[in-house]
Symmetry: C2
Subunit: 140 residues, 2 copies
DNA sequence: CTCCACCTTGGAGCGCGCTCCAAGTCAACC
DNA sequence: GGTTGACTTGGAGCGCGCTCCAAGGTGGAG
């Protein structure tokens, strides 16, 4: 297909945008419907969506927020603040800081659980190496 | 209520077990129904559940697996292996190792996204300190 | 001009992990 | 003996985040 190879146009179709962001076209439409994007995505004369670099950059940020567990609802709030324009920067920063703190806490918790799981693996490894049967005290 | 204070009985009611594990009674029943526990929980003559130390230890492990993102289905597989008894240790260990690897990968990914989010916060902080308006290039 | 892949929409469906409800049982206390 | 309250069950419901469907329009290749 190779659409958008010409000089003047750097927009992408939804399939291209999906490939570029790692999302599916379904998800991209869903995000737009749900108010997660800054504006409605541009359209070609056919009605097909055309994603700009700015769209992609924003979607990239969205995927970072999603991948760190921020709920859709909260991302929408952030997008709302950005749409409101200048003056909402303190609120935006506060929202991101709150999320950062939540992610840090989550990382710490998961890291702790991981250490316990690794110890359990070590127990299995030792057991298997020595041929010792399962101790009652450590069921599982 | 103070049930279970006597010497011979160290079992807990479902409410006590819930308090001890951080889960709800709903969730504890659900886990049991769904085959996540090693055996059906003991019952008092009234039919009420009585959780033993062994139950609590296992549930504690379940919460670690859940908190690190292991799906219910996979935990059930692990419980199935434990129920099958001796001989399944290599499979159990392999399952835990696969999970450990997934968790490590997840931690790495989240950590990377977190760094990007922190940089974005720094941009806001600098902007707010200097009174500079929002640069177009970094929408949001 | 036809074909076919890709796009559009509103709305339904799904998988997950709980979370809750209704109706009934039981133990303990007054 | 009656009331209270924690417990029991099977099954329904919910919030989240997609994921998909049906019916129809678009546009570049042959």
């Amino acid at each position: 297909m190779l659409r958008g190879v010409t000089e003047e146009s750097r927009t992408l179709t939804i399939a291209e945008a999906a490939a570029a962001t790692g999302l599916t076209p379904y998800t991209l439409r869903y995000y737009e419907r749900d108010g997660l994007l800054l504006d409605a995505v541009e359209r070609a004369s056919s009605g097909h969506r055309r994603y700009t670099e700015r769209d992609l950059g924003w979607i990239h940020l969205l995927t970072r927020l999603r991948a760190t567990g921020m709920p859709i609802r909260e991302i929408r709030e952030y997008a709302d603040l950005v749409r409101q324009g200048e003056g909402t920067e303190p609120e935006r920063m506060a929202l991101l800081q709150a999320h950062r703190d939540a992610v840090r806490a989550q990382l710490a918790e998961v890291t702790e659980h991981l250490a316990a799981i690794e110890m359990k693996i070590d127990v299995y490894a030792g057991r298997l190496a020595s041929g010792t049967p399962v101790p009652e005290a450590a069921a599982g």
